[in-house]
Symmetry: D2
Subunit: 346 residues, 4 copies
Amino acid sequence: MIKVGVVGATGYAGAELVRLLAGHPEVEIAVLTSQSYAGQKMWEVFPHLYGIVDKTLETLNIPELMARCEVIFTALPHGHAMTVGQEVMRRGRRLIDLGADFRLKDVDVYQSWYKTEHTAAVLVASAVYGLPELYREDIKDSVIVANPGCYPTSAILGLAPLLANKLIDTDTVIIDSKSGVSGAGRGLSLKTHFSETTENFQAYGVATHRHTPEIEQELSALAGVPVVVNFTPHLTPMVRGILSTMYAKLSVDLNVQELTDIYRSFYQNERFIRVLPPGRYPTTKGVAGSNYCDLSVTVDPRTKRVIVLAAIDNLLKGAAGQAVQNLNVMYGLPEDTGLNFAGMYP
Amino acid sequence: MIKVGVVGATGYAGAELVRLLAGHPEVEIAVLTSQSYAGQKMWEVFPHLYGIVDKTLETLNIPELMARCEVIFTALPHGHAMTVGQEVMRRGRRLIDLGADFRLKDVDVYQSWYKTEHTAAVLVASAVYGLPELYREDIKDSVIVANPGCYPTSAILGLAPLLANKLIDTDTVIIDSKSGVSGAGRGLSLKTHFSETTENFQAYGVATHRHTPEIEQELSALAGVPVVVNFTPHLTPMVRGILSTMYAKLSVDLNVQELTDIYRSFYQNERFIRVLPPGRYPTTKGVAGSNYCDLSVTVDPRTKRVIVLAAIDNLLKGAAGQAVQNLNVMYGLPEDTGLNFAGMYP
Amino acid sequence: MIKVGVVGATGYAGAELVRLLAGHPEVEIAVLTSQSYAGQKMWEVFPHLYGIVDKTLETLNIPELMARCEVIFTALPHGHAMTVGQEVMRRGRRLIDLGADFRLKDVDVYQSWYKTEHTAAVLVASAVYGLPELYREDIKDSVIVANPGCYPTSAILGLAPLLANKLIDTDTVIIDSKSGVSGAGRGLSLKTHFSETTENFQAYGVATHRHTPEIEQELSALAGVPVVVNFTPHLTPMVRGILSTMYAKLSVDLNVQELTDIYRSFYQNERFIRVLPPGRYPTTKGVAGSNYCDLSVTVDPRTKRVIVLAAIDNLLKGAAGQAVQNLNVMYGLPEDTGLNFAGMYP
Amino acid sequence: MIKVGVVGATGYAGAELVRLLAGHPEVEIAVLTSQSYAGQKMWEVFPHLYGIVDKTLETLNIPELMARCEVIFTALPHGHAMTVGQEVMRRGRRLIDLGADFRLKDVDVYQSWYKTEHTAAVLVASAVYGLPELYREDIKDSVIVANPGCYPTSAILGLAPLLANKLIDTDTVIIDSKSGVSGAGRGLSLKTHFSETTENFQAYGVATHRHTPEIEQELSALAGVPVVVNFTPHLTPMVRGILSTMYAKLSVDLNVQELTDIYRSFYQNERFIRVLPPGRYPTTKGVAGSNYCDLSVTVDPRTKRVIVLAAIDNLLKGAAGQAVQNLNVMYGLPEDTGLNFAGMYP
């Protein structure tokens, strides 16, 4: 059994991770920490875990954590995983960080978008971007995995086949994303207050959202040239799910079936990518509660643009599910260990 | 492997059952039937099953069904499982009926509330009411299991300890139930049309709902005397979940802790019943996606009434989950085989 | 023009009141106060009022308020309207309090349920309970109107014809109420956090909710004997609306049509009460955005219980709309001045 | 009083129109027709109108309609207003068509996108596109007003200042729109079935939606050159509201404040357009229940793209509200007669 700890177990990504780890046959949950709820049982905070997870939440104590766990998951606001990362490195443990601290290879870019000093810059170089579909081999031997952001997961998986195959004009990429409210976390705010959010649809962080440089870093790596995009996130009155609608000018002449075949070929043997047949579009309900990313491509012959749709559950493939997938890759387990279930519908 | 067939696989209860059976380690899905979608793949109707269930939906052909399955699940409107039941009996198969046809022991009561002639009255006597917490031993050897209705499951589990222990005045029972919209099925109607249902809360079937005699039959059996209740169902703007709020006059003097202890004792060792500590109330979100029934008891000393709250996921403990639990009982499997997961939260 | 002030303009009841007053032809809004947003424009806090209400929010300054307004509306947490009430009395102004401070005639009962000392007990005797359908004449000449709570409005209007006509056993009254989340206000809490509340249904304050003594006071007054009830509020995943389902044993033999006629007679000429024909039930969507209270009665001959359903918009007939109706009564205006509109559907 | 008839009064746009007309001080509702509900009272179909609209729904009888009404509103599926239009012309009445039959100037384009023969092509030339902000003078004297589609209203109002002032590259326009479910009407379908739609977000009609040519016709007229766009509609789990997110390459160097000023100048004196200050974004809740269109502009200096956000209530400014605004323009009434109210929030 792999002994794991979850630091930040009472945010939504953390709690979803605990639920998944509790059902993972090769994992033993050794430590759960929470700043707000230390001393309480996990189930007192999350009633669905009553009778399932009996552990008491602890205050974060890094030496203890290192002593009791092989693998540490951090699900913390940005800036807080750096210290844990340093200790993990020193003590020969492994880290899967669900936050942003190790995702951006260029520390200046991190500091400029996150307005935070990076105190563990030396670790960034060795961290692996935890998107198994692109970096599986690197993840196997990694010490620090930077689990991707929810929006970037949908955008990168959606655009990778186009960029890797050089099928689009890289100056024309627009990513219009819509997320359920759980992506905004469990912290209280008017933006996530029921009466303000229900029956409401709105954009936020227009042209300024922090996932932009993460998306651009990975798209640029795929394209081999710098890619700058417009990314607009929107808040949707539902709990789970991201749908990203992506637009780009095709630089070659391809029809829908040909593009679908390219996508299927690019993602063949990928356990969690489902490329839908032409004419079917992904829906967030079709992936909710599962680790799948559903994809479709459409071509508009009038404008020569391709429209890509990508749907994920932001808490699964966009956070905790992907973290477990990364754990499985790191330990050579079948990639769907503990993730081998359909979503919930309706 | 147990070869099973699902008749009516494309209603919500049927589809949920298919999802559960697809993840059940001892089951092989042999036949899926659908009147509306025969000839299509299951995943074409339910996108969450893409890549998971590859079977094609068939028209119901009873001899074929009997030939290819050991156990048949029927998830049909009332009146349609009778014929299947007769054939099951004749051919030595086993039936778990998620509909109403075999629930009421008194065929006249069935005919009066359902306005339908019962053509298999002889089978009713041998059918077992499929609430494992009350009829586990009978279910083991049963040929026909009448899987309980969703509302009755919540009401009976909520009131059983009071009636079995003769703690309340049986003339004072009021059951005020609130259900998510999936309980109304996948058939189209204005009552389940998004724009009519969202941001709306309403009662329906006041004093006339067909689950009333089913509840009364089981409460009477528990009490040893006839129990007549008021049962009011309400439609709640959410997909999954039932919360039943139940009121009765206490005939003995007990406080909340004593009542909670009685409930815990009554349900000790029950895998899917969680009696909450005093002061905590069940929520539908706390059980959504799981097979649990969460219960709480409160006493109002001002009125000497007990208020019981019971929450279930109507598609799991209220339908498909309970059906799988019954299958496990019938085959001597651990009762949570294929059901051993926490709900999804948030 | 009647010069009015709204103290606590940025809670949901306060903001709804501002919207209504802005459209009232006989009213001039003179002062809007807000503790949290003083110094900002009202529309900066409530975007729907952009271009409609240009006033800047002020800190509460009681002498200023008295100087600039004839009528003061207070929409504050309990305990905060007492001081305003004293000053109103001293300065010859009039007060409509949307909070609880002047609703309970028995100050001890107030102190026991609200755990707050009442510092203006002397005013309580002269305050009028602001339910125009019951106290219209008293409201006309009142100085302080205690605008009813949202739950009590639905419960009292629903049960008044039964109690006033002595048709039920007063020991058997059960009130099971379901409210939209706006009733919990604009203050942040996990209970009103979108991801916790959507797709969730739950009871709260079981046997302890503070609206209980208010309901009992008015039902007792109607019955002429003390009435003690069970009242259970529930949180429903929608913004607006209350549906109360009420149960009582009939003490006389009446059928549905006779009871409906009694209700129609009791509420004849009432502008905002709609007694539905037998067989139709009120829905929250049918009253949302309007000042109506929709009512229906059903009789269960099996149990001799009457089931009454009452639906209101908690922010209109349950708060701000009723406050405007009271203002109209106080000034001898047609009762629907500024309230003469249908609700919004769907 | 203007005598009006509503043909198709029981769809959502029709019913919203009836609600607005019932509150319009210069209008008398003379005829309401409905194919599905003829013979019933309007309030039997729409409970919010109980006690407000007492009219009985009639079968459509065109001669009667002409005899009893001055102005006819048609709220019908495409193809059904043509006959009414011909009769209106012949009989000297006036028509406001909420459907698509008279919107497209090029009958071939209509026939190609709507797959329907146009049988009243001669009327199309004289019909005026009913967007008062662009065609106010023409509407005044019009006989047939083609009330714009909901999506086009948001897109055209959002992009008009950019195109009229030649500020963008017309080849780069992308319109990503999100609509509440009421836009899909009252007809039953799985796409609008509560359990399929709640907690779901999905695109539809990708690159093929029929509002595309309508948008392009008007954008081309504004630009003076043909404009071809990508338009993607999405279904959002809420009842009311459209938010359109629009992208285009700026062809001139302008910052956010300069662009906001250009928008404010373009729309000065427009009663129903609110250009928000830089940094504030429109929300659907901010306009729900009102006839406003809220707009914001953002510039991304990294990509030189402008991002325009436009929010409307699809049933008001996107349908019935705009129809009433057109009526007011036709009769020389203040443009907000019967529309002079804030939206409902929350």
